[in-house]
Symmetry: C2
Subunit: 338 residues, 2 copies
Amino acid sequence: MKSRVSAYDVARKAGVSQSTVSRVLNNFPHIKEGTKKKVLAAIEELGFTRDEIARSLAEKKTRTIGLIIGDITNPFFAESAGVIMGKAAELEYDVIICNTNHQDDNLEKSIKMLIGKRVDGIIIAAVNRYSKKIKELYEAQFPVVLYNSSIEGNHANFIVLDNEKGAYIAVKHLVELGHRNIAYISGPSKFLTLHQRDIGYKKALGEYGIPYNQRLIYDREFSYREIYQFAYKLLCSKDKPTSFFVTSDQMALAILDAAANHNLEVPKDVSVIGFDDINISSNQYIGLTTISQKKETMASLALEKLLLLIEGKGSISMPIQVVLEPKLIIRKTTGRAN
Amino acid sequence: MKSRVSAYDVARKAGVSQSTVSRVLNNFPHIKEGTKKKVLAAIEELGFTRDEIARSLAEKKTRTIGLIIGDITNPFFAESAGVIMGKAAELEYDVIICNTNHQDDNLEKSIKMLIGKRVDGIIIAAVNRYSKKIKELYEAQFPVVLYNSSIEGNHANFIVLDNEKGAYIAVKHLVELGHRNIAYISGPSKFLTLHQRDIGYKKALGEYGIPYNQRLIYDREFSYREIYQFAYKLLCSKDKPTSFFVTSDQMALAILDAAANHNLEVPKDVSVIGFDDINISSNQYIGLTTISQKKETMASLALEKLLLLIEGKGSISMPIQVVLEPKLIIRKTTGRAN
DNA sequence: TAATTAATTGAATCCGCATTCAATATAACA
DNA sequence: TGTTATATTGAATGCGGATTCAATTAATTA
């Protein structure tokens, strides 16, 4: 590759100093029209593009944010990332995405990497509620906004849904359809959002006098295969559930998969309600009943708040914490219990 | 935010020079064990992390690659990105993803941005076959690998499927099921992959003596809504197609959506075959028949080849061009025409 | 033991741009 | 017309590491 052309090259060609080139690049006032024109011409002729790395080093900001997600393969994350990237692009920010595959050590690794890359701030969409690291960053006043997740204590900025309520209305919906045998498919409760949904699930059961049955609960790692198998086995059992409340649409699809392989009809034989409202859920071929997480709102808010923090408009004593309302979206995967 | 600690700080604390710190950081040989230990201790104590921006500037490489995709919301891209990011992470490379929303000017903008950020190379997964820019980059020997796309002429490195054949076997599958009224849902033929599929579609029709009918063709912009409406209208028409060949699973889902809203049964009333084999297609609740694009293989290859180019193991006279075999995967959305 | 060779380490530079400091040239003002 | 404020630039320096050059010291070899 031919070596790049630098601002010095431009300066030489235009017969000015590098400082001047820098000035026209940054649109400073007080540049003689003729000078500016010469520089612009040289830039054009040489095909110069500013080295953002050098600029970042000099300016101490990178105009880049980090986005840590659990799994880009899960449409909830992909779609959220899409919104964030779109907004970021409008604001001339670039984003580096990291996939943790929901593993704590990957989270730490990603954070370290992003900090090494000197990103201006980070949006984290999947964090263990006991994470020390997040609290540390918060205390060091490094701009971080948690997206659809949070940690114990009050040491973080976050945008979340009222997860307890979301779970509650989901289960309530099933109960009102006559279901009493409600499986609950979630994930590790080390994720605060899930922990809160556990509470909502239990609360709804309690309110309707339905006993909590560990047999119907999945709360291990996120794994399509494992969840699929768990559901498959459950559907083989003699006292099989008539419905499933699943804490993500992605996993709800796994339940539908298992049901289909059992030749069970949805919702006649089994009802399924998810959580997230990913794009495909509204596809009427699927029509997944779910709890909506307004991704556009959440994602925009997250980015907006992060930028505020980056600009220094934040205070440790006053974390940014937004809790949105969940909404039940009834489609065709839930129906009366038979 | 408290100011960062630099290698100088570490050096001072350890009582050595910054050069030495740099050396232990980079694991140079010939460092006295004691010195190394002192430095490491200082690093630990100060919580130092190297400034990758500064390192990039000095080294003239960023250990970062760019990935330009058409739409992160389309699982084909998201899943491909997942594979690439995973592999990249293993090799200690970071990736900056750009979404073009399939717009040419966004492609140019993204490339410019990535080059500004001095990425070591770029994988591009959505490019207009007439793109001048790609050719320029190729000629300037900037490391670029096209993923699932290519351009006219021979001036690019790419990993693609045999798209013509893919389309051909898809249509053949439908014809063999008795379909003669086959709608073809694609996108702008300015994408070479799609153009090739057009050819495959026509070739199969021709071979079976089925007339090409413009009324059954969608070849405008990618838009879920538009495609949905096109299919919906087509399904209303009196001489409606008995089957659809769609050039992406994502869009095939839109057809299923439209069919469902028409209360049409799949595959009894209408057959649908997609292209890509995204994860959800194998979900038996959906069971989309499709043409497989081995994402893992393609993505791994793309990254692998890109790294080769980055390491300077490439030559302009010998572009890297890999063409993979498509494979028909029959599931439940295709059946005999009635 | 003297001559080499290898091991260690620091000083100085460079990467490419932003920015401060100071100088020069103009324009506005008393 | 002498001053003072304003417009325009360039030289020099810094950002935080990597690396080259040279110096110093320890290990080997003749």
